[in-house]
């Protein structure tokens, strides 16, 4: 079996002491940023991007991937103990997990989250192992029109579907696209929007934007608005699950993996939707409905956590095989690849096969590391939550400086960082999503190049997008993604109104 051999070679590369060390450090940093509120995997990877200058590609991708999925493990700890989601995907975990913790079952909640993450992460990695090469094989046949439509699909989902307001999502996306325009045009080598400033010829670093929006913006927002928000921490109990709890967790983990994985593979962005779906499914199927929202149902933690991890792992498929990031962190991972002059896409498996397989192999290893890091050692991570908020955020600002300054050694960038931080505060305050900015900025130039190539193939005719069945199908999907939720919402509202009417009557 070909895949099997490639995977074994991947293990051989990933299991060298130096790569194991990078995976381990990645998992530790990932867990830490997952646990710590105010900093997520996207920022952590962005801050550490300067290492791409010195560290070899395979090692640093293993490292970054470790941070990415490690943060999902750590995120659950914070949601369960503090009721502030450590990162977006663990919002649902915060609802049920916190209820469990309040009733003295924090340990069981943490255990089902960590083991569920492990089960889902490992199954998802197996699926990535077997599906990614197949997708890559098909993806080779895609031309610029299909690529462009795929990217439009990613833009649509990340801006219009995930947020509450399509308008604010669009603003965020197009601000990102505008930032992506700055610099040299890829096809004609013409400078755009550089205003004669030589520093702008290379474009704006994505590190600057990500760190500014997420780290500095978050810190400034916190000092301005959340000084009085006090957090209460639940007590940690032994991470032991009873037989009954195992029996209730298993099916939830598996169902959630089945829900989460497909969502990760399509350019539909993020892990929020599958976690909510899994929660809803568990609530519907559970024999203990009375526990949901009251004393906390273990299925309500097991499912969403597993769905989160399965989706996160699956996002590597569009990233590696199509070069399309569907979340903040994958957008920055794409930036990391670009720093090495590697363009993820269907050719990646043939041109950089060794790297890809080592990366996939490292995920099997990383999941085991994370299970050990997060279950027996959970007490250590909980200590991180004792760091006073003032020190935590001040420390984050130091790391933000490090990441941004380390990239280009420009003090001007630090001023720009502050300005982007202010933008981040405004966006957060007025409910503009931040992810579309980063995705738009990274994916914008690629989408533009594909669009222009596509029109060139069509000899200047835009109908090329309609003539090719692949791009036409994708266009229909984009329209469906835009229109269906609206129709569904209106329909639900009408139904609710009708029911309200009968209830009142």
């Amino acid at each position: 079996m070909d895949t099997w051999n490639l995977l074994l070679q991947g293990f051989a590369t990933a299991a060298t002491p130096i790569n194991l060390m990078w995976a381990f450090v990645g998992c530790i940093i990932g867990t830490a940023v997952g646990v710590l509120p105010g900093i997520g995997p996207a920022v952590a990877v962005a801050m550490l991007l300067p290492i791409t200058v010195k560290v070899e590609a395979t090692a640093s991708m293993i490292f970054f991937a470790g941070i990415y999925y490690g943060a999902m493990y750590g995120g659950s700890t914070t949601s369960i103990l503090l009721n502030t989601p450590g990162e977006a995907g663990s919002m649902v975990t915060a609802m049920e997990g916190n209820k469990m913790a309040k009733n003295g079952r924090a340990g069981a909640a943490l255990a089902t989250a960590a083991i569920g993450s492990f089960v889902a992460g490992t199954i998802a990695t197996v699926l990535v192992t077997f599906f990614a090469p197949v997708v890559a094989e098909y993806a080779v046949r895609l031309g610029p029109p299909e690529y462009f439509m795929l990217m439009v699909l990613a833009f649509t989902t990340v801006s219009a579907v995930l947020g509450k307001s399509t308008l604010r999502g669009m603003v965020a996306l197009f601000v990102g696209l505008a930032l992506g325009l700055i610099g040299i045009d890829q096809l004609t080598a013409q400078a755009r929007y550089t205003a004669g400033v030589p520093e702008l010829m290379d474009g704006i670093e994505v590190v600057l934007i990500a760190v500014g929006l997420f780290a500095v913006g978050e810190a400034l927002y916190n000092v301005m608005y959340e000084g009085k928000t006090a957090e209460t921490q639940n007590t940690l109990t032994s991470t032991h699950m009873t037989k009954e709890e195992w029996r209730r967790s298993w099916p939830a983990w598996l169902r959630a993996t089945a829900i989460g994985f497909p969502f990760g593979t399509v350019p539909a962005g993020g892990s929020e939707i599958p976690t909510f779906l899994s929660y809803a499914a568990e609530k519907k199927l559970s024999k203990h409905k009375e526990e949901f929202g009251t004393i906390g149902a273990i299925e309500g933690v097991a499912g969403p956590e597993a769905a989160n991890n399965a989706a996160i792992t699956a996002t590597l498929i569009p990233l590696l095989t199509l070069g399309i990031p569907t979340s903040n962190t994958t957008a920055i991972l794409l930036g990391a690849f670009q720093n090495y002059g590697i363009q993820p896409g269907p050719q990646l498996f043939s041109s950089n096969g060794a790297l890809v397989w080592a990366l996939i192999a490292s995920m099997y290893i990383g999941n085991v590391m994370l299970l050990i890091l997060n279950l027996p050692l959970v007490g250590l991570w909980v200590k991180l939550l004792k760091i006073p908020k003032s020190y935590l955020y001040a420390g984050i600002l130091v790391f933000a400086t490090l990441g941004v300054y380390g990239m280009r050694q420009s003090a001007f960038d630090l001023v720009l960082l502050y300005a982007i931080g202010l933008l981040g505060v405004v966006m957060r305050r007025f409910d503009f999503p931040a992810a579309p900015v980063v995705v738009g900025m990274i994916l914008g130039p690629l989408a533009e190049a594909q669009m222009r190539n596509a029109v060139a193939i069509g000899e200047g005719k835009w109908t090329i997008f309609l003539e090719r069945p692949g791009s036409l199908t994708l266009m229909v999907i984009v329209l469906a993604v835009l229109i269906l939720p609206r129709v569904a919402r209106r329909w639900a509202a009408r139904k609710a109104a009708a029911e309200g009417g009968t209830a009142a009557g």
Partner: protein, 171 residues
């Protein structure tokens, strides 16, 4: 009860206007980009125009929404209703001084200063501002303890250049 600042029609209008202005600036910039399209039909100025036009439309819509009952489906930003400016000034001072001093003071000291000032800001937001010399020194030492290891990791282990007070790579 004061109004939550994210509900302010004035601020919302300003944001909409800002988006509109950004769109206009992009459109202005797009006029100076050549439309030389080669044989493809789409030049380097096409996409900038698309972005500019969409931002202008979005900006106008934001302003219209702000003037007619506020942004739609708005989830109020978490936390207090209005900003705590004193804390904001401390943190801003930390960040901007850091930008100004990093090349002269070096990474460690400049970041430690930023750390100290930021801690003052967060403490003041929590109403626990402590300006005694003891607290300053304690926080400065913690700041150095945070900044120094990462500085050494970058300069010694990864051989990435960061500015220092001296050229030794240690301070």
């Amino acid at each position: 009860m004061t109004q939550h600042s994210s509900r302010s029609a004035v601020l919302q209008t300003v944001i909409g206007a800002g988006t509109l202005l950004l769109g206009c600036l992009l459109a202005y910039g797009a006029t100076s980009i050549s439309s030389e399209a080669g044989y493809g039909g789409v030049g380097p100025n096409f996409f900038p125009w698309v972005v500019a036009v969409v931002l202008v439309i979005c900006g106008v819509l934001c302003v219209v929404h702000a003037r007619t009952g506020g942004f739609r489906d708005l989830e109020e930003g978490s936390g207090d209703e209005s900003a705590h400016w004193k804390g904001f000034i401390w943190v801003s001072a930390g960040l901007l001084l850091n930008a100004m001093l990093i090349t002269t003071l070096g990474f460690i000291l400049s970041c430690a200063l930023c750390f100290v000032l930021a801690v003052r800001g967060f403490k003041s937001a929590e109403d626990k501002l402590d300006l005694s010399p003891k607290a300053w020194i304690k926080d400065l030492l913690i700041g150095v303890a945070v900044a120094a290891p990462v500085f050494w990791m970058f300069t010694q282990l990864l051989a990435i250049n960061l500015p220092g007070l001296t050229n030794t790579g240690w301070l």
